[in-house]
């Protein structure tokens, strides 16, 4: 479904991605791992249209999306989270979730001036559903900048979920979390985010990776070095080499 063909991207003298090929397998969690600076986040940025690749092409459901804008990718039902959490800081938790519905409403009757947008029953129900899943119900009236880090990460995922996307790209969903919080996050992803969706997960916490990923792709210096079943990949010699040295 998501099909990247020989993607390259450089920043000045730094080659972030080099002739990378990647076919996402539908409806499973693909883990994307690799040492720092190996090009993982650049890849996600290319898969959401934030960067255009220098060369190569991107296909989503056989549709060529190379060079399209981030808006276009978003409307193709691809959602993401950010490693450095990005939320609308001066909006409440509830509004942050609603913001994601602005362009993706399936309810046709709800047009421009249907008033008020944030009280619309259809949207509210959806938002409450997601809040319930992510355990954010009690915080729904807090501002995003008032939340502690684990809840911000959850809110990012909730925002992605509410639009009911087909693909979700998670960039370090457990970054900066304690082991117990990481465990909770793994449960959440397994139970509520993953079913029926295609997930890409960047993560450094190998416990999390080995717990929830079915399939792994390992990057190093912008190239794919290994791809395959999680357990096979983790015991692959090349992977250890990538992590601990040449």
């Amino acid at each position: 479904m998501f099909d990247l063909r020989s993607i390259s991207k450089s920043f000045g003298s730094l080659k972030a991605l080099d002739q990378l090929d990647l076919q996402l397998k539908p409806k499973i969690i693909t883990g994307l791992i690799g040492p720092n600076g190996s090009g993982k986040t650049t890849l996600i940025n290319i898969m959401t249209g934030i960067y255009a690749p220098d060369s190569g092409s991107i296909y989503f459901h056989q549709q060529n999306l190379t060079g399209e804008s981030a808006e276009c990718f978003a409307q193709k039902s691809i959602a993401r989270t950010f490693q450095n959490i990005r939320l609308f800081k001066r909006m409440t938790v509830m509004e942050n979730i609603m913001a994601s519905l602005v362009t993706k409403e399936k309810n046709k009757r709800n047009n421009w001036f249907s008033y008020p947008f944030t009280r619309n029953k259809f949207n509210l129900n959806k938002a409450h559903e997601v809040l319930e899943i992510m355990n954010l119900k009690d915080q729904r009236n807090l501002f995003a900048e008032e939340l502690p880090l684990p809840l911000r990460r959850k809110l990012e995922i909730a925002r992605a979920l509410v639009a009911e996307p087909e693909v979700i790209l998670l960039d370090e969903p457990a970054g900066g979390m304690t082991p117990s919080e990481t465990f909770e996050m793994a449960e959440l992803i397994n139970l509520h985010v993953a079913p029926g969706r295609t997930i890409v997960l960047i993560e450094h916490k190998m416990d999390l990776i080995s717990k929830i990923c079915n399939h792994l792709v390992v990057l190093n210096h912008g190239e794919k070095i290994v791809e395959g079943e999680t357990h096979e990949v983790l015991s692959h010699k090349k992977v250890l080499e990538a992590y601990i040295g040449i």
């Binding site: 730094l14 880090l149 015991s235």
Partner: protein, 238 residues
């Protein structure tokens, strides 16, 4: 030389270092290994004074620096080669080197001499000395960052992930430089993800996980991959 005891550093409410004790001995390369998010960069920032620890003490040669500002720590002899190099992109290489010497007293006559020494050590910088530093390649920028830190004549050189984002061949070159520096008597505290490379230069190794030291010893003891494998690739894989 440098001694940290029971350091606890917080990022907002998150405890990034949970009672870290660490020592870097004079003339040695001390290496801190650990997976991402273990607190390696936080350790560096705490030593350099950019982050203030909530508890714990920090000594440099019997002088308590716990409550000393980042500016004065540079003057006291702690120089940092930061992660991602952070050279000044719109200044020439010569000027970048000059900024390294800003912490030295005005009357220090040896600055020009030291710059020449740096050019001798890094001929590639000499060739490009009037070029803007932002136009350099990654490896050259790393050399510049190292040279710039050395210009402060530090007692101890902190290096934060010098191999980050560099091609394997250049990483080797950088580590050759580290080895050379150490042979000349520079005390180095090295934070690295590239464990194998780091172990070739280290005299002493710390492994940190979740803000705590989980291993402390000679590189020969750690070479039997098991500990590192556990730290980097998780405990569930054998």
């Amino acid at each position: 030389m440098l001694y940290l005891e029971d350091i606890r550093t917080f990022y907002g409410e998150i405890e990034a270092l949970k009672g870290l004790t660490l020592e870097a001995r004079k003339g040695e390369v001390t290496c801190v290994l650990g997976p991402n998010g273990a607190g390696k960069t936080t350790t560096m920032f705490t030593i350099a004074g950019i982050l203030k620890p909530r508890t714990g003490t920090l000594f440099l040669e019997d002088e308590n620096l716990t409550h000393v500002s980042a500016q004065s720590r540079v003057r006291k002899g702690i120089a940092l080669v930061p992660e991602n190099r952070l050279i000044f992109p719109q200044m020439t290489i010569a000027e970048n080197l000059d900024t390294g010497a800003l912490s030295r007293p005005l009357k220090d006559a040896g600055i020009q001499e030291d710059i020449l020494k740096m050019y001798e050590r890094f001929p590639r910088l000499h060739e490009r000395k009037e070029q803007m530093a932002g136009t350099l390649s990654g490896g050259e920028q790393q050399m510049l960052a190292i040279a710039r830190a050395l210009m402060a004549k530090p007692k101890i050189l902190l290096m934060d992930e010098p191999s980050l984002g560099l091609a394997p061949l250049i990483v080797k070159e950088i580590f050759n430089i580290i080895r050379q520096l150490n042979e000349e008597g520079v005390t180095i505290l090295l934070v690295e993800q590239n464990a194998k490379m780091a172990l070739t230069v280290a005299d002493h190794v710390y492994l940190i996980e979740q803000g705590k030291v989980t291993f402390n010893g000679n590189p020969s003891e750690i070479h039997q991959d098991e500990v590192i494998r556990r730290a980097y690739l998780g405990s569930e894989v054998s």
